[in-house]
Symmetry: C2
Subunit: 306 residues, 2 copies
């Protein structure tokens, strides 16, 4: 069986490729750390060619990409689609890379989404494709997509009607690695969702999301005064930040939340959501992205319904 | 008239010296950037000697120091005093530097304060001396001391009964200079307290202190989508952070707040406090520190009431 296209999720710090048929069969796959940040220096075309050669792709195999590679500072800009955005129709706004970048190959870039509301402007790239996959699988409601910039989106009637991004993951890196709190942190930390230092901090922040600003410096003081170990301080900082975000987002929400990704950071968000009393619907991030890229490819290249 | 002692406020990033008589006359003064961070490499004794020589101090002139020079990572540790701390009596816990550090000179280090409460551990060094000066001038109530780590203390009956430090200033530096928000920031920013981008953000955060976590990423998105200039983004970030801190601290407080320092950052806190409907009592930071060091020196060296 021969491949019909390559589906690629090209994020800020990761690259993921599936070699697929138009019926959705995955013939091969690759993943690597060559995200946008790496490729700005290493070259997007070079990285893509290397991966396509690895999977034995024909010179004319079409390629469909979603994610940060389509940002202005990425490979080739795919303009944002606006809200409300019917996710099944995003393929119509994919752009084709010009000859000077793509050569003879047909390479398409999925659009991101922009919320052009002056009161709460926001953008996403890559998550819109995940959301299209979720919608295809029949999901509806509030979706939580953990990451360095965790995104919360509302999916209604197959359209994204609003979303909000949180800097929580980046804030955790900055505070634990580059603020005065770094003196209270372990050399290398790992947080388990059932760590009592993490869950206690979650509960505090869920109960009072505005409090955490005043609970940061005490992490340093707590270490100075001998109240907490570096490992406890690390877990506590994570719990305060994730708890403040989740507590804020689920306030007044009684519907289930669709959580995309349950490993690593996802497991910490799952714990926060559960402790907030929120019912969870679990979804797989990679499956959602791949399913949506397949559907978009069928739309773009005019295949029968995949 | 000859000097009786040198009073020194030795912070993390600043050095301030007053050459004084026991009656409180200031015969000379110096200030410089040689704070603790500088002196850990350059040497505390060397910096002190240079300044004392500049003001023509006698070899046996006593020296009284408050601030971070007394931290464990500073010159010589002065253990923390505990709460409730009667600030007029802190001099009794000042420590004298040993011969190997001080030579023949009598050098004393004021203690910091520690709040040894596992639920809200906190520490201060330098601010306790400001608070002693405020108490001496008859101030009582909630005191706000803006800085990289803004401190809020409760002064009751001449004692500090509790305090809380906020990372707000450091958070602003990290977010504006080292997070994804840096792309939305000006080369060099300066915020005036009546800047509408600042005051609008203040009002938003004062009304809803828990909201700001979700308003950080939109600063980057607002710049990408063309809603705000870099200068507006810079002022907005400051307003959101200070507003969240002040909104949290004044919730349910109807008494006046004593604000120490009204220039630069102090002016931004003053605006936030005013907009929150809080009545302000203005106090001078340097006067408070100098007055308290004079009173402590009189106590230590047995002079008549200064």
């Amino acid at each position: 069986m021969s491949a019909d296209f390559a589906a690629i999720d090209w994020g800020t710090s990761s690259f993921r490729l599936w070699l697929m048929t138009c019926k959705g069969q995955v013939l091969d796959e690759r993943r690597g750390p060559e995200g946008m940040q790496h490729c700005i220096e290493a070259g997007f075309a070079e990285v893509l060619d290397r991966y396509l050669t690895q999977v034995g792709a024909a010179p004319d195999l079409p390629v469909l990409i979603c994610g940060m590679a389509g940002a202005r500072q990425g490979w080739f800009e795919a303009p944002y689609a606006d809200l409300p955005a019917e996710v099944a129709k995003l393929a119509s706004q994919a752009v084709r890379l010009p000859l000077n970048l793509a050569g003879a190959r047909d390479i398409r870039m999925m659009p991101g989404l922009a919320q052009r509301d002056p009161a709460c402007p926001d953008v996403m790239r890559g998550e819109e494709t995940q959301l299209a996959g979720l919608a295809k699988a029949g999901h509806e409601g509030l979706v939580c997509m953990p990451g360095t910039h965790c995104k919360w989106a509302r999916l209604e009637g197959g359209a994204v009607t609003g979303f909000q991004s949180f800097l929580t993951g980046e804030l955790f890196s900055l505070l634990s690695g580059h603020s005065i709190l770094r003196h209270a942190m372990p050399e290398k930390g790992r947080i388990l969702p059932d760590d009592p230092a993490f869950t206690t901090a979650l509960d505090e922040a869920l109960a009072d999301p505005a409090a955490f600003m005043g609970q940061l410096f005490p992490i340093r003081a707590g270490q100075l005064l001998g109240f907490r170990s570096p490992e406890e301080s690390f877990a506590r900082l994570s719990g305060l930040l994730i708890g403040a975000e989740v507590g804020r987002q689920v306030a007044g929400n009684c519907a289930p939340v669709i959580l995309v990704g349950q490993e690593g950071l996802g497991a910490l968000y799952a714990e926060a959501l559960r402790r907030s009393g929120t019912e969870l619907v679990l979804a797989n991030a990679e499956e959602a992205t791949r399913d949506a890229l397949l559907a978009a490819a069928a739309e773009i290249w005019g295949w029968q319904d995949a």
